[in-house]
């Protein structure tokens, strides 16, 4: 008996979601376009159980790259409305569309000038009339035997929120790397949330030679430091260039004796460099994009402050995060 009742509830809720498939229309596409073209945030408001669902949708959207926050309608009435800007999109959640606490805000939201979208089960409601777009999330019946407690309707609302988040993921070409960026709880995430200055090698660990050094000496230094590169510095420690293993190979291929050359002849001038405040994530992106494993770290005027190896970001180098 008990199991049968539970199965019945699940069936009613599943049917509620399945019905949305037929009712989803162009308004949903317009909503996605609104969000993608907006420079503002997606503000979600609802009260009671719709409010709880709204908070979950906000969490999903934020973790998948759509800036969003939950606005409690009552708090909004008492000043939080100041958080809403003209560029934002206001998404109101209400199955009946007649929630007083929500509808009372609508004239003010209109006045601010942001777009209003309603997730509601009543297309003729007051909320729907105030809205630029209405997404129908209505269900035929609630699973509650008395039809009072929101059950199927909140499930449908939640499913529609997930549908929106997933469509936005695809539309914005959100990748797993982006997901990692918003979930810095993992070990790699922790490292990527650092700044370069937390990971870079400094002081005597930086492989350096002056511009006047011979190429042969530079090769010995590359070998001694074991990073596969050496930085070439000018007067006052300004970065002049970098010599990598590749530069050495190219120099050897020129068939001129390596020991007759100066570092100036073989170095790459003005190499890619970042400053110590650059997020490690950005440094990693630069390394990936340009297929390099080492980045010189310079201050705003170009003086050397350190060097960063790919292994230092990935946790295989000298730096160990949290002692791991």
């Amino acid at each position: 008996m008990t199991i049968n009742e539970a199965k019945k509830v699940l069936k009613i809720e599943a049917e509620g979601i399945l019905q949305l498939i037929d009712r989803i229309d162009d308004n949903f596409s317009h909503l996605v376009e609104f969000i993608c073209s907006s420079s503002g945030r997606l503000i979600i408001a609802g009260i009671g159980k719709s409010g709880l669902v709204g908070r979950k949708i906000v969490a999903t959207l934020n973790s998948t790259g759509t800036r969003s926050f939950f606005l409690h309608p009552v708090e909004a009435m008492h000043g939080d409305l100041g958080m809403v800007c003209r560029d934002d999109i206001f998404l109101a959640l209400s199955n009946s569309g007649e929630t007083d606490e929500l509808n009372i805000l609508m004239p003010n939201i209109r006045e601010i000038g942001c777009k209003i979208v309603a997730f509601t089960g009543n297309k003729d409601s007051t909320l729907a009339k105030y809205s630029d777009l209405v997404i129908d999330v209505g269900v035929e019946r609630e699973a509650c035997p008395m039809g009072l407690a929101p059950t199927s309707s909140t499930t449908a609302l939640l499913a529609m929120g997930d549908a929106l988040a997933v469509v936005l993921i695809n539309k914005k070409e959100f990748k797993s790397t982006d997901f990692k960026r918003f979930h810095p709880g993992g070990r790699l995430g922790q490292r990527l949330s650092c700044e370069v200055k937390d990971l870079m090698l400094t002081g005597s660990l930086i492989p350096l030679v002056s511009e006047e050094t011979g190429a042969g000496e530079a090769v010995k230094e590359i070998d001694r430091f074991g990073l596969g590169v050496i930085l070439v510095v000018q007067k006052d420690n300004f970065l002049a260039g970098i010599i990598t293993d590749g530069d050495i190979r190219r120099a050897v291929a020129r068939k001129k004796p390596l020991y007759d050359m100066s570092v100036e002849e073989i170095m790459t001038k003005n190499p890619r460099a970042v400053n110590p405040d650059t997020p490690a994530y950005d440094a990693l992106n630069i390394m990936e994009k340009h297929q390099i494993t080492v980045l010189p770290i310079i201050n705003p005027i170009g003086k050397i402050r350190g060097i960063l190896h790919l292994h230092d970001i990935l946790g295989k180098g000298d730096f160990k995060f949290n002692g791991t």
């Binding site: 007067k235 300004f238 201050n299 003086k303």
Partner: protein
């Protein structure tokens, strides 16, 4: 030199009005110039040589300017677009300098984008300006960018009445397709009128001539920012962000805090140099080791007062320590 054609548009973005490194005997310090150009060049979209304000172009003799440009072109070797300030005290001086430079450019077979920069009201009135440019541009193969800088014109007391190019005159000037842009300084209303006047000039670029204004209300073409002599990377960041060039890479959310911080730094730097841009910038560049001497043609009254000089040195110390440039 690249061939002149109507599609040859000026660089958009960050233009660095290079300070002119001098030795104590008032000759060009080539080693410092090379260091400065290599420091600046990796970030900027164009370099302005002998600029009236930052490069002391109005006080340096034609011989020193000639030396500076020839040394700089040798170092740059076409790697970045170069803008050359040609304005002299009279129209004849201007024509003469332009002719000398053009001869040099042809002689060394320079390959790279070049533009003249002229502040016409410095030596000419609004009357007959379009006609003057029609004649001037027949004598050169290099396109020109004009500049409106009332502050500079006012220094020529009594010679001219008007500090700004009249909008109706600009409208006629931009019909000359060899004039490709304008470095603008002035109020918002004038900026709007100028933009309306220049609408017929396809690809005509407006640069903000006042970096402090750009930091508050950025224009659409770019900025001539003296602060980029010291911190070209920071200025590039701000310029890219302001011209919305990061949008395409969807990096706005990542860059915003960094950009706000950079903006504060650049405002600070501007306030340090504002009273006498070339003099103070050279002092800073010398202090951080980019140029060897802070010797300058311009003089600053306030620097003679030791108390003000000390206050400035204290402020500079705070700036250098705050932004890790010691």
């Amino acid at each position: 030199m690249e061939p002149k054609d109507k599609y040859f548009s000026p660089p958009q973005g960050l233009i660095c009005p290079l300070v002119s490194p001098l030795m104590d005997d008032n000759t060009i310090d080539s080693a410092s110039l090379e260091r400065l150009l290599e420091h600046v060049g990796r970030a900027v979209d164009g370099v302005l040589l002998c600029d009236a304000i930052w490069g002391e172009g109005t006080v340096l003799s034609a011989e020193i300017r000639f030396d500076l440009v020839s040394s700089a072109l040798e170092i740059i070797r076409g790697r970045w677009p170069v803008l050359i300030f040609i304005t002299g005290k009279t129209l004849r001086d201007t024509q003469l300098f332009m002719a000398q430079m053009e001869e040099l450019i042809n002689k060394i077979e320079y390959r790279g984008k070049l533009f003249w920069v002229d502040y016409p009201l410095y030596y000419h009135s609004n009357r007959g300006l379009p006609q003057m440019y029609l004649e001037l541009m027949t004598k050169t193969e290099i396109p020109l960018i004009i500049a409106n800088l009332p502050y500079l014109v006012k220094q020529q007391k009594g010679l001219v009445k008007r500090g700004n190019i009249r909008t109706s005159v600009l409208k006629k000037i931009v019909r000359n397709t060899e004039i490709r842009g304008m470095i603008f300084t002035g109020d918002l209303k004038r900026s709007f009128n100028y933009q309306m006047a220049a609408r017929s000039g396809s690809g005509f670029v407006f640069y903000d001539g006042d970096e402090a204004v750009f930091l508050k209300n950025p224009g659409m073409g770019g900025v001539v920012a003296g602060g980029s002599n010291l911190v070209p990377g920071k200025w590039l960041e701000i310029t890219r962000f302001s011209l919305n060039q990061y949008d395409k890479k969807k990096r706005i959310q990542i860059s915003r805090p960094a950009v706000l911080e950079s903006g504060t730094m650049l405002q600070f730097l501007y306030s340090l140099c504002n009273a006498a841009p070339a003099v103070y910038m050279k002092k800073i560049l010398c202090k951080v080791g980019i140029i060897d001497s802070s010797h300058s043609y311009s003089s600053v009254e306030s620097l003679k007062l030791s108390r003000q000089e000390k206050a400035w040195q204290d402020e500079l110390k705070v700036f250098l320590n705050t932004y890790d440039m010691v």
